[in-house]
Amino acid sequence: MRQFIAVVIAALAAVLFMLPVTGRVVAGQAFYKPDTPKFPQARTWVAQRAKLPPYKAPRTPDGVPDLQGNWNGPVGGGNDDLEEHDYIDVTTPPQESYVSDPPDGKVPYTPWALARRNEIRAGLARGWPGETGQRLYGDPAALCLVGMPRSSFGAQQIVQTRGQVILLTANTYRVIPTDGRAHMNSGAKFFFGNSRGRWEGETLVVDVTGVNGETWIDSAGNFYGPNTRMIERWTRVEPNTIDYQITIEDPSLYTRPWTMTYPKRRAGTGPGANPGGTTAASAAAVVTSDPYAKEFWENTCIEGNFDNVLEIKNLGFKWFNAVTP
């Protein structure tokens, strides 16, 4: 029974984050076997990126790099566990770390914060190694809570208008002003924080403050906090590839700033997570043959999953509040 519950919870977290509730099932969602080869992430991508020739992106009519289009998330099992790990379960294949800095691929938690992360992980009740069997916290994403920086691990459509970059998925969005405005007062907290963008050569730099720390960075309890600052760097390094980097700073939680790096490939041109909830598929043949393939279709969350949310509550999982020292 415990094994069953663990699989249900793990599958629920993965499914809620990756799949549309209505419309077509996204192609490529997989259940992995123990002998799945390790998915490449930051280490492999940083080495590949170093060999790329210089690239200058086409410009929008406003003269800034054109990042528009449908972009996939990273390859593999998504962000079940952002640090390097072996095969864990059917939704969590072996994978390199998303962390490119520090070089060991670990989140540089302070000792007490690491203890807190490990305590959360031991109470996931997913059937993972090292768990106590206690049900502490479910992944907030399973309760339809999304925020920074996890939304960018899924696929997104980028739309640029004058003075704004807009990131769209089927059921959520971010609007990033690039008009030089200041951040709001740091006391104003949001799931997605307060994003302020600027262009540095080929790169869109987004400074995010005002996050509330109430969501996780992955589904394995890696967290940030209400005082965390995130700096994203979006650079088109090839016609069909955006290099995505996010540096996370919070002296109260981490011993140093740390950075995750992965490529986002243009949908239909290569591997990667499909746009959640859209009918657009990674297979180029599907994109060209289905007139609706490039449309986003409705992708509700809590409406269709209220009974699952209730189940998580009834299993005894607690509400995850932001971690502060």
Binding site: T22, V159, V175, E295, K313, W319
Partner: protein
């Protein structure tokens, strides 16, 4: 009896004129305005910006007095009457009586169309050549209004927000919306529809800072004839205006999670 015949003909003609002139006809031009809006780079009328209503339709789309937390207001329904069938009217009254528990907004579900437009939160219109996208601050609801030549997808699809297909009639954005489920309301007063709902919205710029928003509602399972709402949408003037967030579901779950007797979790 020529006078009588004349009278009958006159009545028939008057009735025909009334049906033609007064009955709302989805998709036909109903608004004329002399204002010419600027154009987008794609040559469309430019409706982009952050907009919001300034009315009380979120509470009740019909004329209503005030009560605790409910501001009084003129309705937005043309003629004020909603032509419910008798059975539907009884259900509306039942909805009103039990609105605290039955209103889907109280569970933070997506509000449906047109309700999302007149909730007291700002929304942003973004235009591309083949699509108008409306981003709502409320629950980060996104409406994709496709203008790519695709018709509504086939079948009855039970979507909360429906399937929106747009076209331009002069300077007016006309949006045809179908494929609804029967689980959303029009307001907090229990006005409702079925899954046969068909909505036609018209967004007409009347000057730089105002859109006239007109909606025709058809639903033969609930109403005896089509009916209309109309209201202005106001451009938010603040220099630093931007969409922030109202993550309704998150706040509600957080509030209710540890309650031993939560009505949210116990009513199901």
């Amino acid at each position: 009896m020529p006078v009588m015949r004349w009278f009958v003909e006159w009545i028939v003609a008057l009735a025909a004129f009334a049906m033609f002139a007064l009955a709302p006809t989805p998709g036909t031009a109903q608004t004329s305005t002399t204002y010419t809006p600027p154009r987008t780079r794609d040559g469309q009328p430019d409706l982009q910006g952050i907009w919001q209503v300034l009315n009380t339709a979120a509470w009740d789309i019909q004329d209503h007095g005030a009560s605790l937390g409910v501001p009084a207001g003129h309705g937005v329904v043309e003629g004020n009457e909603i032509p419910y069938t008798p059975a539907a009217l009884a259900k509306k009254q039942e909805n009103f009586k039990n609105r605290q528990t039955l209103d889907p907004e109280n569970k933070c579900f997506l509000p449906g169309v047109p309700r999302v437009t007149y909730m007291p939160y700002p929304f942003q219109i973004v235009q591309q050549a083949d699509r108008v996208t409306i981003l709502h601050e409320y629950a980060r609801v996104i409406r994709f209004i496709y203008m790519n030549g695709n018709p509504h997808p086939p079948g009855q699809i039970d979507w909360v927000m429906g399937d929106s297909r747009g076209r331009w009639e002069g300077n007016t954005l006309v949006v045809d919306v179908t494929h609804f489920n029967d689980e959303t309301w029009f307001d907090r007063a229990g006005n409702f529809h079925s899954d046969a709902l068909h909505v036609v919205e018209r967004f007409t710029p009347t000057d730089r800072d105002h859109l006239l928003y007109e909606v025709t509602i058809e639903d033969p399972k609930v109403f005896t004839r089509p009916w209309k709402m109309s209201m202005p949408l106001y451009r938010r003037q603040e220099k630093d205006i931007e969409l922030l967030e109202y993550e309704c579901g998150a706040y509600l779950l957080k509030q209710e999670w540890d309650k031993t007797n939560s009505s949210l979790f116990n009513q199901r």
